[in-house]
């Protein structure tokens, strides 16, 4: 068969279309940038990122590390970014836990548990998240003032926040410990998911998976202990002094309300994903496991859960990315997440475009990393030789 003329060739045409599309895109971006620059220059505004090294002159109400008005913008942005990560970590973990529980209740045999699960999901899934957030925040503000704080165990609960007994260690040590623990967890996941080195004995691999977080926990505890001032007691208990509460660790209402709202709302969605995952597990596999004499817990943990998790994971990734974006609602109650720090920075500096670019870059980085890691996990545990989740 003779080769078709160039303009009739499928591959040439495809290449032409792609090139034209790319050229148009580059032209559009370039044009927009140039226009914006000339307009900003006409208004007397300078573009560029030099402002990142200027002092902010304002304060953040929640940070994991120390922040002062004399600190530069980049440090504020970094701390806001960490707040978003922290909020995301806590609410995703919480939402996953609630989701698993509610999903299991809904797919179980007990009618009372099923009803409870259904009520939960219908209630939390059908109200707008921002409404739920305002509700919890209003509830938190209705708590008694610090002088009449409710004592619960060693904790004090008031409208100013929940004060928990804390360890007398430095904030830096806590951050270091958190980083060590995260690294340990990441290492464990990596060892479990990777198939390298090939032919590593599964028993030894499983042992390694347990050893990695073990070492991390040990290192974390040592880091905490090293920063403890021997002159002070190990625990600091919150106590009311005059009009306010001192000592202990304060969890501010903005933080726990947002975390609680995302956790409960996300839990309802994840509950449905979990239920769907268990539905996708073939009845045959469960029966085979029962016929072999496995206990109900063994059937669940060795067969149903691993197979259900594989069915859930692709949808869970979407949900996680969605929930991370929901942390930006913090601005509605005044939790200084990445979005709120950016919004304040824009008000104070006027560098709108640059900050929005940083904001978008930050969220893209979080969600892209999250999705990439989970997608990799998804590929690593995919059923070999199956197109889908293998229900036969």
């Amino acid at each position: 068969m003779a080769a078709p003329p160039l303009w009739r060739s499928k591959s040439t045409r495809a290449f032409m279309f792609q090139s034209v599309f790319l050229a148009a895109l580059v032209a559009a971006v370039l044009g927009a940038t140039l226009t914006a620059r000339s307009n900003l220059a006409a208004q007397g505004l300078t573009s560029g990122f030099a402002f990142l090294w200027k002092n902010t002159g304002w304060e953040m109400n929640f940070t994991l590390l120390k922040v002062a008005p004399t600190d530069p913008y980049w440090w504020f942005l970094l701390m806001g970014f960490c707040n978003t990560l922290f909020m995301g970590l806590i609410s995703l973990a919480g939402a996953s836990g609630i989701g698993l529980l509610v999903g299991l209740m809904r797919s179980g045999r007990n009618p009372a548990a099923r009803l409870l699960g259904t009520i939960y999901i219908e209630l939390f899934r059908n109200l707008p998240l921002i409404l739920q957030l305002f509700f919890w925040y209003a509830l938190a503000n209705a708590l008694p003032n610090p002088r009449q704080a409710i004592a619960f165990g060693g904790a004090l609960i008031s409208s100013r926040g929940i004060y928990l007994p804390g360890l007398n260690v430095s904030q830096g040590a806590v951050a270091l410990t958190a980083a060590i623990l995260l690294a340990g967890a990441g290492l464990a996941v990596w060892i479990a998911a990777t198939r390298r080195p090939q032919g590593l004995d599964p028993v030894r691999r499983r042992r390694l998976v347990l050893i990695a977080p073990g070492i991390a926990i040990l290192a974390g505890v040592l880091a905490l202990a090293a920063s403890h001032d021997p002159a002070l007691p190990w625990l600091t208990l919150p106590a009311t002094t005059g009009l306010k509460i001192e000592g202990g660790v304060r969890i501010q209402p903005e933080f726990y309300c947002l975390a609680f709202a995302i956790t409960t709302y996300g839990g309802a969605y994840i509950g449905e994903i979990v239920r769907g995952g268990f539905k996708a597990v073939g009845r045959g596999q469960t029966e085979a496991a029962r016929a072999l004499g496995l206990s109900p817990w063994q059937v669940f943990s060795r067969v149903r859960m691993p197979l259900a998790f594989r069915a859930m994971l692709p949808i869970l990734i979407n949900q996680y990315v969605w929930l991370i974006k929901a942390t930006t609602l913090g601005i509605a109650v005044g939790f200084s997440d990445f979005f709120m720090v950016i919004a304040s920075s824009i008000t104070h500096s006027g560098q709108t475009l640059e900050f929005i670019a940083i904001l978008m870059g930050g969220f893209l980085a979080i969600n892209f990393t999250l999705a990439a890691v989970l997608n990799r996990l998804n590929r690593a545990i995919a059923l070999k030789g199956h197109q889908a989740t293998g229900t036969t």
């Binding site: 085979a288 072999l292 063994q298 060795r302 067969v303 197979l307 545990i381 030789g385 036969t392």
Partner: protein, 248 residues
């Protein structure tokens, strides 16, 4: 568990799905080492009956004893019986997230507390018996249907059960793979395994069965040694069924 008692003893077994009666007063005795083939049209209750023996289905009336142990509400007796009764399913039902070897060692390690090295040695022995030791590291999804069913047989054998139940083991297989599975089943039968097989493979029944049972509409209609069953069936319904199965 008393190995001198009959392997399976079923008395007056009833099973309902809502208002529909799936089993009507079934009586069946299987001696240790006996091979019984159960056949009958679809919906006749054959699968339901053998699934009652290891309590994948709960019965509503009558008694089931396995080696003298009565199957009742006692969870302990169900666990005890499941350890001694292996099952092979129509759809293989292998665990797709585990390798062939892991499929075979899971239950011995969890239920019998066999150490891993020993469980793996036993598994390799049975994988050799079903003639696929070279596939031990593969996943079920990478095997053909016939290979998967042979793994499923090996998996059941790894628990070293006294009785094997087969629930239409060749019905989901392509014709060219049926023989390899039947060959394995014939070998097992010749080695004296107590077997209860629901199957339409009449050649297999003629070759290895001590007794053939015909079920229809939730009842046992006829029960006879294969020679008598195929050559001189007593009941009209059996004759009709045999003409449909063998007639082409």
């Amino acid at each position: 568990m008393d190995l001198t008692a009959p392997a399976i003893e079923i008395r007056n077994l009833d099973k309902y799905y809502g208002a529909f009666q799936a089993l009507r007063g079934i009586d069946l005795r299987v001696a240790r080492g006996e091979r019984v083939v159960i056949c009958g049209p679809s919906g006749s209750g054959k699968s339901t009956m053998i699934r009652c023996i290891n309590q994948l289905e709960e019965h509503d009336g009558g008694e089931i004893r396995v080696f003298g142990t009565l199957l009742d509400d006692n969870l302990g007796s169900i666990d005890e019986i499941r350890r001694e009764v292996g099952m092979v399913f129509q759809q293989f039902n292998l665990f797709p997230h585990m390798t062939v070897l892991e499929n075979c060692t899971l239950a011995p390690m969890l239920v019998r507390r066999t150490p891993r090295t020993e469980a793996e040695a036993v598994a390799m022995r049975y994988l050799e018996k079903v003639r696929i030791p070279d596939q031990a590291g593969k996943y079920p999804g990478q095997l053909s249907g016939g290979q998967q069913q042979r793994v499923a047989i090996a998996r059941a054998l790894c628990m070293q059960p006294e009785i094997l139940l087969f629930d239409e083991p060749t019905s989901a297989l392509d014709p060219e793979m049926i023989a390899e599975v039947l060959d394995v089943m014939v070998t097992l039968a010749q080695e004296g395994m107590t077997m209860v097989c629901v199957t339409h493979e009449m050649g297999f029944a003629r070759k290895v069965a001590d007794r053939v049972i015909f079920m229809d509409n939730g009842e046992i209609i006829e029960e006879a040694p294969p020679g008598e069953f195929f050559d001189a069936p007593k009941s009209e319904r059996t004759r009709l069924f045999l003409s449909q199965v063998l007639g082409h």
